[in-house]
């Protein structure tokens, strides 16, 4: 989700980037193509191992996760651009949809991949996730995640270190409260690392810019947000997977 903020900054601060954006658009397209191919390969693998109904389930889960990702991206994007809110609704609407079309798409895809990876990893590790498996807990988790974003966007911190440390503590708290599994932690870390790397690359290639980068090219709290986002999406994914798996009833009907 912080990619949104990156973009928001780039929109407001670097009009010169726009020309580069065109050239890098193709790069993004090929990147998304890569992602899609990964997804399709995952799906194919899934298709090979399970029967068709389950793959349909997988698709459905992926779709739900994708939508969740897109909605979260849009909302959190709004949270980030709230600071220069004006009195004119027209203008606000302009800024609402001025963000590049690929931001929600990327976030949705990432959410789908991560959310499908979590139950898959659980399955392969052979330790099904039993902790707080219910929708209420998932909703709580999402709310806390939005709250973390809210805090990062709205609160005034003394310095960056404090902000990053607070967010790190909050993310860890989120994991401890709602996940508490080693695989979840590992996957969250991986997600955070990869996403931060991608963000660094994007900024390096000039698609983004931060007003005050303090961690190479990006903000230092970015990994925390990615981590908590990964845990949240993983939570949703697990819950979805459990709902589907819980009814062998439906599986037997075919």
């Amino acid at each position: 989700m912080p990619r949104l903020e990156e973009h928001c900054w780039s929109c407001s601060c670097s009009p010169s980037v726009k020309t580069q954006e065109l050239s890098s658009a193709s790069w993004i397209v090929c990147k998304t193509g890569e992602m899609m191919s990964i997804i399709t390969s995952v799906l194919r693998h899934a298709y090979g191992s399970m029967h068709s109904l389950q793959s349909a389930n997988l698709m459905r889960r992926g779709l739900v996760l994708f939508i969740v990702g897109v909605v979260l991206a849009l909302v959190l994007n709004l949270l980030q651009i709230q600071r220069n809110v004006t009195l004119f609704p027209e203008e606000v609407l302009d800024t609402l949809f001025s963000s590049a079309w690929w931001i929600p798409l990327c976030c949705g895809t990432a959410a789908a991949v991560v959310g499908l990876l979590y139950p898959c990893l659980d399955h392969h590790l052979g330790e099904p996730h039993k902790f707080k498996r219910e929708w209420a807990s998932v909703m709580r988790c999402i709310a806390v995640f939005v709250g973390i974003n809210h805090a990062s966007a709205k609160l005034d911190f003394a310095n960056n270190v404090q902000l990053s440390l607070t967010l790190a503590a909050l993310s860890l708290g989120l994991w401890w409260t709602f996940d508490r599994s080693r695989s979840g932690f590992g996957l969250g870390l991986t997600t955070a690392f990869l996403a931060t790397l991608i963000a660094q690359l994007l900024v390096y290639n000039g698609i983004y810019q931060y007003t005050s980068p303090d961690f190479l090219y990006v903000r230092s709290w970015l990994p925390c947000i990615f981590f908590s986002g990964g845990v949240t999406v993983g939570n949703i994914g697990r819950q979805l997977a459990m709902v589907r798996n819980f009814s062998p009833y439906f599986l037997n009907e075919t």
Binding site: Q82, L87, L96, F157, F246, P248, Y249
Partner: protein, 1224 residues
């Protein structure tokens, strides 16, 4: 160790606390409510949240710019009153009128010349200089307008002082004003079309509410009001005072008593735009989803919604308490309450409440309520305390981030958590105890007849309510045990539709919408309600315009009227007319007209702060045009400077534009009025039309979505009430067409055995009468002991039933007494034929079965019987034989034109032994009797085709498959019989009544065939004990016995394949079908699923307390019912219990599966249909009027989706039409 001690202590404390709560619910709830209110009391001091501006008034004289530093010295000073304001607003309120009014003046004159004077006043203001300070130096300098406002560029000032007046319409140039032919058009061309809520340009420039300006052709008061608004960036008291003095001096206001000593500071809250609203709304949606998913888990309580409400109340009031307590101790919330509220709720959470409920509900039901609460509390005490400690720790960590906002949040959260804990312990626990008690009372009321012996629970402080038991309790209550299966309820789409249909949402929304729309229409309609009210008020007001011309006064709804000015019930000073006004010398000119009122300029207190009547967005809107936000800042509004302008009629005439006179004089008012009306009516008509179309559209949609008019369909069924209707959890009962059972009457006693092959239906009652019915129509085809005529007469209930003619009847009637007298002679006549005696004797059960076994062979006995049959109508005594009667009788029964003389004996069954088992295949009925005799009857003709008396022990169970009959006997032996048919040559196969020949399935036996039944093999000791169940399918015969084992035999060679051991009690139910699925249930309540091919046990589940009474399988699940009145549905492959249905006490144990998803169960005088996928009760069909006490014990599902069940001495045939459609 200390941890354990601590744990025990906590547990004990909770236990005691639970006892306390459950013992004194009412005082505790009162105490809690009181404490909540006390804690919330400080909240009253907090300002109500909202985005409206806040005001603060100071005196003008000793005004100084508030400093930043000293906020605390003045207690009444608000927080925001710090630093200089964005701007000082100085308004010059101009009231101008042409007076005396001359009737030669046209309506335009009312405002043209008064407006024209604005330029001179403006000039005056701009040029005002006080000790080298001019307005230019003091005023708020503005730059460009926002880029989006090109439209307003010509009107609003740019690059200079922010000074707005009506003169801005003409770029502050008098020449443009004079050249303007139509002032109104100029003013109105900038007005936005349609609905607008914020400030319009007219409001901005005139500075008074649009209605009060008086700039209109129909201004009755003929006073024009406008302001010149000056925004000053710095406040120079002397300059302002001098300006005021100057203006007052130039334009004196005679009777003006406006106060000038107060300055109002207006603080504006942060604007909430869409961008901020969306995340907020999202968090709230997440919050509601959280609450929904949480409260959904509350289960097994009396009132789910009540508890959910209590849970939400607990959390909310704990939040309120936390805010209240924080305020009490001097911490004023600075965070935006609306924003952090969802996060607070999420942090505090509903988990504890749910855990509590679950824990209390899962305590043993038979305990006392107090003890249940206490136990539930103490069970969860440790986890509750642990969670609470963890959360407090986390929040404490948050406190040490030293970010003020987070610290404040944490503080709130800590107080909220503690108060939430308090409320959970006192409020929620008590509510829970009340709920549990209510549930127990309800249970008690329901169960009282069945468990009258149980001691009543100790009445707590709550008196048991004397609720009268419902007239007919709904026969089944269903409890889904796995909560996750709530997901498996109806499809979402249907649920939405049902929800819409149930609440009549569409209609209600349409209705409410229409009402609101009409209300808006009426209210905003200039000719509507408001003006009407205004007119009435002004009529009553003595200060209203007394001198109104009558032709105008009679129109109470007059659009052009200025309602607000009419409404202003000014406590105006007594009309102290100005000297100029006195000269009303024009009355003589038009003596017939009521004198024209002369405009009077009055100044009242309401003029002091005229800006209050403007939209509260007026100032933010004005400043926002220059990209200056007022959010979280304030402006200071200086006291208004009143300016009164009196113009002479001559001046008005001089300033006229040539075109002004072309405006139609008063008569034109009407036409334009009409025009206005016309457009209004057009709009109204269009709106109405659109509304009607919308309604029609929604109605059509509604009809499409819910095509059935549920509830009103068909005749009201007498025996179905609202409570009996199947309801889903939303209270909506899906429409199912009416099912009415077909009652088959005829048996005189309770029906014992029931068999069917789909087309025919055979039943046998305790009176050993076998009847064959047509399963399609319910007609009785055959009565098997048709010599039972005499039996029935002897039993006193003779019925003229089977088409016997009167002669026969009379004959019979006359014969019987005589023959009965001859009965003692029979044994002598036939020697040792003991079975003739019970033929006559009415006491059927008197002879033990063993005695009925005669040493004589089967054929001989049959012959004797035949001989007896031939002679029975006319034997020996009194009457001569009457062959026609007997022939007629046979024809009517057997549909045979001629009675073949060589027919095998017909009705010589073993009448003294009862039928224990019966099977029907084709048109052969196999009956197993308690005497061990196996008989084969022709179902259509009612004749005995063959009989086998090889066995001695009573036949407990029969299986008839293909041409083999397997009989299980009481002594544990198993006999295999083969039915052989020898067809006589040259005879066509003949089956039953004409027209039904093609219907029944194989095997077909014609009445001419000679059928013999050979015992092929007898397994003597198949089981150690009595065989209880015998089922055959797919070439296998499966037996279950009291000796805890199940045996599988091959049908062809009677070879025992497996002995299945696994039950620890006698076998009570077995299910096997064509797909070789074998399931067995025993007295120990276990259900085993076996693999018939390997003999291995697939799964073994413990299902019931008590015997498993019935077992049925579908392709995906196993359904079992037990003596504990529970119906359990198991997953067939995994053996996991999907859910269970709790039935009424004493329900029959009969089960049947009609299709993959439709289960039918027998109950007390009714059968119930269930949806297997969701466990929903679909429908309950009552079988007869006298259903009490009669329970359905046997239930057969026929191929044509009909079910047959016994019901006392009647049979009931119930068709399920919807399933029939599905099957097709």
């Amino acid at each position: 160790m200390p941890l354990k001690r601590l744990r025990q202590n906590i547990s004990a404390a909770f236990y005691r606390h639970g006892l306390l709560c459950a013992s004194y619910p009412v005082p505790i709830i009162l105490f809690t409510s009181a404490s909540i209110l006390t804690c919330c009391y400080p909240l009253l001091k907090l300002p109500l949240p909202g985005t409206g501006p806040v005001e603060f008034t100071t005196g003008v004289r000793d005004y100084s710019i508030p400093s930043h530093e000293s906020p605390g010295d003045l207690s009444e000073r608000p927080d925001w009153y710090q630093g200089p304001p964005v701007a000082y607003i100085q308004q010059v309120l101009v009231k101008a009128a042409v007076s005396p009014w001359d009737n030669s003046l046209v309506p335009v004159d009312v405002f043209r010349s008064p407006l024209g004077r604005v330029f001179s006043v403006l000039e005056e203001i701009r040029n005002h200089v006080y000790t080298d300070r001019s307005l230019e130096a003091l005023c708020l300098q503005v730059t460009d307008l926002l880029p989006g406002l090109r439209r307003m560029q010509a009107v609003l000032p740019e690059h200079g002082c922010l000074l707005v007046s009506p003169g801005n319409y003409w770029q502050n140039r008098r020449d443009l004003f004079d050249a303007d032919p139509d002032l109104l058009k100029t003013v109105h061309q900038h007005e936005p079309k349609g609905l607008h809520t914020s400030a319009t340009l007219k409001d901005l420039l005139f500075g008074v509410p649009g209605k009060q300006t008086g700039v209109s052709l129909y201004n009755k008061k003929r006073v024009v009001t406008y302001t010149i608004t000056i925004a000053l960036s710095s406040y120079d008291a002397r300059f302002v005072a001098s300006l005021r003095a100057r203006l007052k001096q130039l334009h004196p206001s005679a009777n003006c008593t406006l106060r000038e000593d107060h300055m109002v500071h207006v603080h504006f809250k942060e604007e909430i735009g869409i961008a901020e609203l969306i995340p907020l709304v999202t968090t709230y949606i997440i919050l509601f989803a959280y609450i929904y998913f949480s409260t959904r888990k509350i289960d097994m309580v009396k009132s789910k919604w009540g508890l959910a409400l209590a849970a939400v109340v607990t959390v909310l009031s704990s939040l309120l308490m936390s805010v209240g307590l924080c305020t009490l101790f001097g911490l004023t919330p600075t965070l935006n309450g609306g924003e952090i509220f969802p996060y607070l709720v999420v942090v505090i959470g509903l988990e504890n409440v749910l855990v509590l409920t679950k824990s209390v509900v899962s305590t043993p039901v038979d305990l006392e309520v107090k003890l249940r609460i206490a136990q539930g509390l103490s069970n969860e005490s440790w986890s509750i305390m642990k969670n609470m400690a963890t959360e407090l720790c986390i929040i404490l960590i948050g406190y040490f981030t030293f970010v003020p906002a987070i610290q404040e949040f944490c503080l709130f959260a800590v107080v909220g958590l503690v108060s939430d804990f308090f409320l959970q312990m006192f409020f929620f626990t008590t509510v829970l105890s009340i709920d549990i008690r209510r549930m127990e009372l309800a249970d008690l009321n329901r169960r009282l007849p069945a468990e009258a012996g149980m001691p009543p629970p100790k009445p707590g402080p709550l008196r048991p309510r004397e609720t009268p038991p419902p007239p007919r309790p709904s026969p089944h209550t269903i409890t889904l045990q796995a909560p996750a299966f709530r997901n498996l309820r109806l499809p979402k789409r249907l649920r939405v539709v049902y929800f819409l249909a149930r609440t009549r949402l569409a209609q209600r929304i349409i209705m409410v919408g229409t009402v609101i729309w009409i209300g808006i229409l009426v209210y905003t309609d200039p000719a509507g309600l408001r003006t009407l009210l205004a007119a009435q008020v002004s009529e009553q007001s003595p200060l209203g315009e007394a001198g109104l011309p009558p032709h105008l006064g009679v129109a109470p709804v007059f659009p052009g009227r200025d309602p607000t000015s009419t409404l202003s019930v000014l406590p105006a000073p007594e009309p102290t007319p100005l000297p100029e006004n006195q000269s009303q010398g024009h009355r003589a000119a038009r003596p017939e007209v009521v004198p024209v009122s002369s405009p009077q300029i009055t100044w009242g207190p309401e003029d002091e702060e005229l800006w209050r009547r403007l939209s509260f967005r007026h100032w933010p809107a004005l400043f926002s045009y220059y990209n200056i936000t007022l959010a979280k800042r304030y402006i200071s509004i200086l006291p208004v400077i009143p300016v009164t302008l009196h113009l002479s009629p001559q001046e008005a005439i001089d300033t006229r534009h040539p075109q002004d006179t072309h405006h139609a004089p008063p008569p034109s008012i009407k036409t334009s009025d009409l025009q206005a009306d016309l457009t209004l009516y057009k709009v109204a008509a269009l709106g109405l039309f659109a509304g009607v179309v919308l309604v029609l559209l929604l109605f059509c949609l509604y009809r499409v979505l819910c095509p059935r008019n549920y509830g009103q369909n068909g005749v009201p069924h007498g025996r179905r009430r609202r409570g009996d209707l199947p309801c889903d959890e939303y209270g909506y009962s899906p429409p199912i067409s009416e099912i009415s059972p077909l009652l088959l009457r005829g048996h005189s006693m309770d029906i014992e055995c029931l068999a069917s092959d789909g087309m025919l239906l055979a039943s046998c009652c305790l009176a050993r009468q076998i009847r064959v019915w047509d399963a399609q129509t319910g007609d009785c085809l055959t009565v098997i002991p048709n010599n039972g005529l005499r039996r029935s007469s002897s039993s006193g209930c003779w019925e003229h039933r089977d088409g016997w003619d009167h002669i026969g009847a009379c004959e019979a009637e006359n014969i019987f007494p005589i023959r009965r007298r001859t009965t003692p002679a029979r044994p002598a006549l036939f020697g040792d034929q003991p079975d003739l005696t019970p033929l006559i004797d009415t006491n059927f059960g008197s002879l033990p079965p063993s005695q009925t076994l005669s040493s004589s062979g089967f054929d001989f006995g049959g012959l004797v019987e035949k001989a007896y049959q031939e002679h029975e109508t006319s034997p020996t005594l009194a009457f001569p034989p009457s062959p026609p009667a007997s022939q007629q009788r046979r024809r009517s029964l057997g549909d045979q034109p001629v009675l073949p003389p060589e027919l095998p004996p017909q009705n010589n069954g073993d009448w003294d032994s009862s039928v224990w088992a019966m099977e029907l295949r084709g048109n052969l009925i196999a009956t197993g009797r308690s005497s061990g005799k196996l008989e084969l009857w022709d179902a259509v003709e009612g004749s005995l085709r063959c009989s086998n008396e090889d066995g001695v022990s009573g036949i407990t169970a029969l299986a008839f498959l293909n041409n083999r009959i397997v009989a299980a006997r009481l002594n544990g032996s198993l006999d295999f019989f083969t039915v052989e048919i020898t067809k006589p040559l040259g005879l066509l196969q003949y089956r039953g009544p004409p027209g039904r020949g093609s219907l029944p399935p194989s095997p077909c036996y014609s009445s001419e065939d000679v059928i013999s039944c050979q015992l092929t093999r007898s397994v003597q000791c198949a089981h150690q004990k009595q065989i209880t169940v015998l089922k055959a399918a797919a070439g296998r015969v499966v037996t279950g016995s009291q000796d805890h084992t199940v045996r599988v035999y091959r049908l062809e060679d009677s070879c025992c394949l497996f002995t299945l051991q696994g039950h620890s009690g006698g076998i009570t139910a077995i299910y096997i079908d064509q797909t070789m699925v074998l399931a067995s249930g025993g007295q120990d309540g276990t259900i085993c699923v076996w693999d018939v091919l390997t003999g291995s046990r697939v799964s073994h589940v413990y299902g019931h307390r008590g015997d498993v009474t019935s077992l049925v399988c579908t392709t995906s699940c196993i359904i079992s019912s037990g003596l504990d009145d529970l119906i359990c549905i198991w997953d067939r492959s995994t053996g996991i219990k999907l859910y269970s249905i709790q039935q009424e006490v004493g329900c029959g144990a009969s089960l049947g599966v009609i299709s993959e998803s439709l289960l039918v169960t027998g109950g007390q005088g009714c059968v119930s249909f269930w949806d297997l996928n969701y466990g929903d009760l679909l429908q309950t069909v009552y079988l007869g009027q006298s259903s009490e006490g009669q329970s359905v014990r046997q239930l057969l599902v026929l191929d044509n989706a009909a079910i047959v069940c016994d019901f006392g001495n009647e049979l009931s045939l119930v068709y399920v039409p919807s399933v029939l459609e599905k099957l097709d």
